[in-house]
Amino acid sequence: MSTVLITGANRGIGLEFARQYANAGWHVIAASRTPLAPKDFAQLGYDVTEMRYDALDDASAAMLANRLKGRPIDVVILNAGIGSGDDVPAEELTSAHWEKVMLTNTYAPLHLAGLLEPNLRLGDKKVLVAISSLAASMTLYQVPRQYAYRASKAALNQMIRSLSVDWKDWGCICLPLRPGRVKTRMSDLQGDLTPEQSVTGMRQVIENATPEQSGIHWGYDGQVVAW
């Protein structure tokens, strides 16, 4: 049986990943800051392990990695992230805002990926996924402002690209994935896709990923997202 670890698994895209992998018979490690709602947990079935993980707290990342020591993990999905929040012009951007966004969306995924490297090495599939965004694209994104969010996702793509190069020798496939515009809390429930559609597409990309596809930003629709 395959094992997947998902961060930010208590809602939105993360929860949908947990649901779909659980339905497909995978063992799911659901890592989130806030516990799963009892009804969601019940729906996921018996083969789910819940663990605390707060992207802004290195101690929680260390504890998570410690509890998982020696356990193979096939697919790690670094999904926990935050949106652009108070969207302000350049003159009003504060360090309090961008620090939180960069730490959550860029630093934390790299850090946790590093800590879980031994688990991925033990797994059969060896796939590392980071949930990115069209906002990471220099050439495609046309929404005003969102300085910190855009920087955080572009920088995340670069981190994952670096991992794809460094971890190529042991066969790890590293994928920044674009979920598309999904109706979740982060998008104020605006979007063209349900979480189910987006995650179905992303799971397909993950399932079919080859080493040649590592280090490239893929969309839920199987299309390459230009940098």
Partner: protein, 225 residues
């Protein structure tokens, strides 16, 4: 003659930029963390030196106050740092990450944003940040330098966003790449700083609104994102 502001102008690429622009008759405002130590910069013709710790919002506010009413044609946010380039993923600390991102990604944005009135009062209205080939995701095929690379990729994203937001104001934002230059940061490996800066100067002089949003190398070529 035009007026250019260069941050981190007390050494390396920044100092050479100040040297070549002032040598060509431009008025140069060079910033340095330690003004007293920036003797080479201060000795250049029509050059003034102002204190700036680029990561300190109060210092940026003070600089903007000092320069209030002063038109500036071109800003080059040049100051940047690199820490522990060889760190493995688990060795990248939160503190190092924040420090590098603060300096390389968000300080350039804060600087040009604070001096927006000066740019609007200038003739050329050009705001540039010093990027790097290391910013390129496409060209990243030898990894390492996790945080440094990510900080420069983030800088590209920030100036891409700024380009879009400031285009209606007539300010051309962009990114420049100095190439691998022999400075303290590279243990003096690479091309002579004079060569890099001569190329960058040409890029800056010829830059128009049509170039806004590009990342241009010292050789005039675009760097892949």
């Amino acid at each position: 003659m035009p007026i250019i502001l260069i941050s981190g102008a007390n050494r390396g690429i920044g100092l050479e930029l100040a040297r070549q622009f002032s040598g060509d008759g431009w008025t140069v405002i060079g910033t340095a963390r330690d003004v007293a130590a920036a003797t080479e910069l201060a000795a250049l013709p029509q050059t003034s030196v102002l204190p700036l710790e680029a990561t300190d919002p109060d210092a940026i506010a003070a600089l903007a106050k000092t320069l209030a009413g002063q038109p500036i044609d071109v800003i080059i946010a040049n100051a940047g740092i690199a820490i522990n380039l060889a760190a493995k993923p688990v060795e990248v600390t939160r503190a190092d990450f924040l420090k590098v991102v603060r300096t390389n990604t968000f300080a350039p944005l804060a600087l040009v944003a604070a001096l927006k009135p000066n740019l609007l009062a200038g003739q050329r209205k050009v705001a540039l940040a010093m990027s790097s080939l290391m910013s390129s995701i496409e060209a990243n095929n030898w990894a390492t330098q996790y945080t440094y690379r990510a900080s420069k990729t983030g800088l590209n994203a920030v100036f891409t966003a700024l380009t879009q937001d400031w285009k209606p104001l007539g300010i051309a934002c962009g990114l420049i790449r100095p190439g691998m230059v022999a400075t303290e940061m590279t243990n003096f490996n690479g091309i002579p700083v004079e060569t890099s800066v001569a190329g960058l100067k040409k890029v800056v002089e010829n830059l128009t609104m049509a170039d806004a949003g590009r990342i241009i190398g010292y050789d005039g070529a675009d760097v892949p994102w």
